[in-house]
Amino acid sequence: MRMLTFAKRCTKEILRDPINLGFGLGFPLVLLLLLSAIQSNIPVSLFEIDTLTPGITVFGLSFMTLFSATLVAKDRESALLQRLYTTPLSAFDFIIGYMLPLLPIALGQTVICYLFACCLGLTLSVNIVYAVIGIIPMAVLYIALGLLCGSVLGVKQVGGICGALLTNLSAWLSGVWFDLKLVGGFFEKMANALPFVHATEMEKALFSGDFELAGAHILPILLYSVAITTLAVFCFLRQMKKQ
């Protein structure tokens, strides 16, 4: 009950920040529109709507990191957390309370992306449902990454690191904007060692109904999700103790 009260508050704080929300939910749609327009003039297979949309939904998740990191960092800096630490809320309540509200927001964002893409000519199929469900582990990873960053960084740093660096890095390393094989070498190896490209490929596979291929990509995503969540919990508890 306590945790749900706190989670409800976190939801309101996120949904009432019009800049964050507009940018986080609107930007992936603008990209879909823009890249589809480019595709219609200069055909690029990577930007075909059926190939592009699953990647954009994964890219959109990077804004969840920004949302959760900003919220945690703001709470830390505003002394609200200090006040709440003197209440019966437990560490578990805090962690779940921060993470839980972002999951439906992430799923909502994914659904909006697919619906918008349908208007742009995306093939309508039941696989969209599997793709939306399949995005959950990656959403958890991004949300946990936000909790981690919010626990160790200040509000201004969060804006730079999560808002600019992470969104760009995760996009470059995801294979959404360009084929990683074109760069090759160390860059490709690094991208394959990270979860972003696996998430994009898994989404594409789920959308096209190739569940075997999707299964091949899920392990690194799950491993990273567990590792990042564990690290985030550790860092949050550490700053809680420090406060």
Binding site: M1, R2, T5, F6, K8, R9, K12, E13, R16, D17, K74, S78, A79, L80, Q82, R83, L84, Y85, T86, T87, P88, L89, Q243
Partner: protein, 242 residues
Amino acid sequence: MQTIKTAQLVKRYKNITAVDKLNLEIREGELFSLLGVNGAGKTTAIKLLSCLTKPTSGDAVVGGYSITKESEKVKRLIGVSPQETAVAPNLSVRENLELICGIHGFSKKKTQAKVTELSERLALDTVLERKAGKLSGGYGRRVSIAMALISEPQILFLDEPTLGLDLIARYELWETIRSLKGKITIVLTTHYMEEAEALSDRVGIMKNGKLLAVGTVEELNAKANTNDFESAFVSIVKESAI
């Protein structure tokens, strides 16, 4: 009867001793002010007593419970209004109050009653639906104190409650604090002499983490051989060889 008793309470941060062997007794129902210049250790003392930080050594009993061994029980007895206005900025004043009610497990009926009671008591009726982050400094502090009072605490900690407020807002907040006197034990920190003088039953003067003197304003004036509390404070702080 003492509601707070500290025994050789020490808090060190690397090479800095923020609170140094603090021995303090605060009686039930009194308004006790910790007075000192910036860096005297007042906020750290409050953080220790409200279980926000653990002591390096020593202990304190708050409402009958040890801050080192029974912090969860202590937390159920206290309310804290931190130095910064600690509110959820995108939530309305009502939602902020409801948030704390929910965290303390109040029913819907009790929550409504509590919001009505506190908004009347702290004159928040006119701003109940406004976003807390958009309030003036004075209203922000009042909301912060209202949030601290929701759990019906036996002991209320107010850390620099009027810091940065204009004169009128400060006087209004003093009235609010006065209205709470006698009903609960209040520990407030301040570096304003006139605030300590106007509100406190007793004052503790701190410097460099040490408690230099404790007493009523009159007792401290007598100790420093003066009729002016500001002179008494300066004299006590300057005379200490710390």
